[in-house]
């Protein structure tokens, strides 16, 4: 499969069959059965584990699995290559389940945990570990390894994946999932949202409706306090380490959950709207909007070359990692992969000299033998970069 990865690989999170960092895009390995030949809908990196979600509802994972974050019950060693995860079982008591109820449709990953939802959005699952309640399985179950005797819900056989009980509320379904390394946001079809995980920095509260004392951790999904004035239906969320941003469907409304004074000014610099957005993603302390004009608008932490160069246009796709960005540019009908930011592990390509501050540069993708690269999907994580290329 034409999936390439490069960057930090200490726990085989790049799916290359070894644990050495690489700075040149390298073909990923897949354990049998092979994945679909069409590209994934998303590439989802955690700290040292990675997931792929395909439009067919199939999910794959690789990398560190010591607390079950890859979803596989055998947690004795990391997964050196992508393995296919079990599909969600049919909902209890349903004789003719819809295909959408037994396929994966949404995945987000944090530091050492993974949150998954079925394609119909009616069931949400968790695996891995999170001392701040990131699994959403309750304060009695902060990890899926070692397996507890009594768990709120049973694991899917052969996996560490448990369903989050009583969520989402009856009659609603998930339309998107987002997470930082330590907190999770689920957006529902009625425009409401729920959050869990770290909450000490008010990540789960509108500044005007913060309870006192503020809960430091939140171990089950809780409804995000309604906006005190002028609410709007939320369509999408993105999370920096200490803030949450909620976005309306058209991008005309944007709200911040977090402290009124934020590190790196991620709140203070927030624009009034993000109309015309194609994609919104967050680094650990910055937010990046890809606009339909092919430009990227960014705010938050900007030092050490984290922001795109002024005047950058022609951006077709972007993927924002912890402290670096990769993007696809189209110039004269040709696509090229570029990277910038913190590239110490080779995640901005094979840079000679200072990798701590990498200005925008092209990353050559080996192979193709003279064919034209058609880049279908990109991803970026904790000093990791991913690209799915069809050669035409």
């Amino acid at each position: 499969m034409p999936l390439y990865s490069f960057g930090s690989n200490g726990h085989s999170q790049l799916s290359l069959g070894h644990t050495t960092d690489v700075s040149i895009p390298t073909l990923c390995k897949f354990h049998l059965p092979p994945p679909p030949s069409s590209p994934p809908s998303s590439i989802i990196p955690g700290a040292n584990h990675t997931l792929l979600l395909f439009p067919t509802g199939e999910a794959y994972s690789c990398g560190l699995n010591h607390c079950g974050q890859c979803g596989f019950a055998d947690h004795s060693h990391p997964l050196g290559a992508f393995h296919r995860l079990a599909n969600p079982p049919p909902p209890e008591g349903i004789t003719n389940p819809s295909p959408e109820s037994t396929q994966w449709g949404f995945i987000t990953a944090g530091w050492e945990f993974t949150i998954l939802a079925t394609k119909d959005g009616k069931r949400v699952f968790a695996c891995g570990t999170g001392a701040k309640g990131e699994l959403g399985l309750g304060s009695g179950m902060l990890t899926t390894v070692p397996q507890l005797r009594d768990t709120p819900t049973p694991a899917i056989p052969g996996t560490t994946i448990h369903q989050i009980p009583n969520f989402p509320p009856e009659g609603t379904y998930v339309i998107s999932l987002a997470s930082s390394i330590m907190h999770v946001i689920a957006v529902l079809n009625d425009g409401s949202c729920f959050g869990w995980g770290a909450s000490r920095k008010h990540q789960l509260h509108h500044p005007k409706t913060v309870p006192i004392p503020v809960p430091k951790t939140t171990a089950i999904p809780r409804a995000i306090s309604p906006f005190p004035t002028d609410p709007f239906p939320v369509a999408k969320a993105v999370c920096t380490q200490e803030s949450t941003f909620l976005i309306s469907s058209s991008g005309d409304r944007l709200a911040h959950l977090g402290l009124p004074t934020t590190k790196w000014k991620v709140y203070e610099q927030m624009p009034p709207s993000c109309l015309g957005y194609v994609d919104i993603q967050a680094s650990w302390n910055g937010v990046y909007i890809l606009k339909d004009t092919g430009k990227i608008v960014a705010w938050g932490r900007s030092d050490n070359g984290r922001f795109p160069p002024k005047g950058l246009t022609g951006v077709k796709m972007m993927a924002v990692g912890s402290e670096h960005v990769i993007a696809v540019l189209e110039e004269d009908g040709r696509e090229k992969l570029v990277a910038w930011g913190w590239g110490e592990h080779g995640n901005c390509g094979d840079v000679e000299g200072d990798r701590a501050v990498v200005p925008l540069r092209e990353v050559e993708i080996p192979g193709g033998e003279g064919k034209k690269a058609k880049i279908r999907c990109i991803g970026a994580g904790c000093a990791t970069s991913w690209v799915w290329v069809d050669w035409e």
Partner: protein, 87 residues
């Protein structure tokens, strides 16, 4: 490059995780590994936690009394500052 220049971020000790078996505080590093500092180094007034996998470091924001509760959690040792930290 001065130490100040290479400090990636300043992190409050309350946001770090204490591991009583390793007797250290840790916090995620953007490379996927984690910044670590021993509780005894903090007790000695050190405040820079390092990542074993990359060049980044963080400055830990803390008061000496913040350590007290966790110092009581670690097994009684002879003289903390000179005890090697091992897994």
């Amino acid at each position: 490059m001065s130490e100040e220049d290479s400090i990636y971020d300043q992190i409050e000790i309350e946001d770090m995780t204490f591991d009583p078996s390793l007797q250290l505080y840790h916090y995620p590093c953007p490379c996927g590994d984690r910044f670590e500092i021993s509780i005894y180094d903090l007790q000695d007034g050190e405040d820079v936690a390092v990542c074993p996998s990359c060049s980044l470091m963080i400055k830990v924001i803390f008061e000496p009394e913040d350590l007290q509760e966790n110092l009581e959690k670690v097994p009684a040792v002879m003289n903390g500052a000179t005890v090697a930290v091992s897994a």
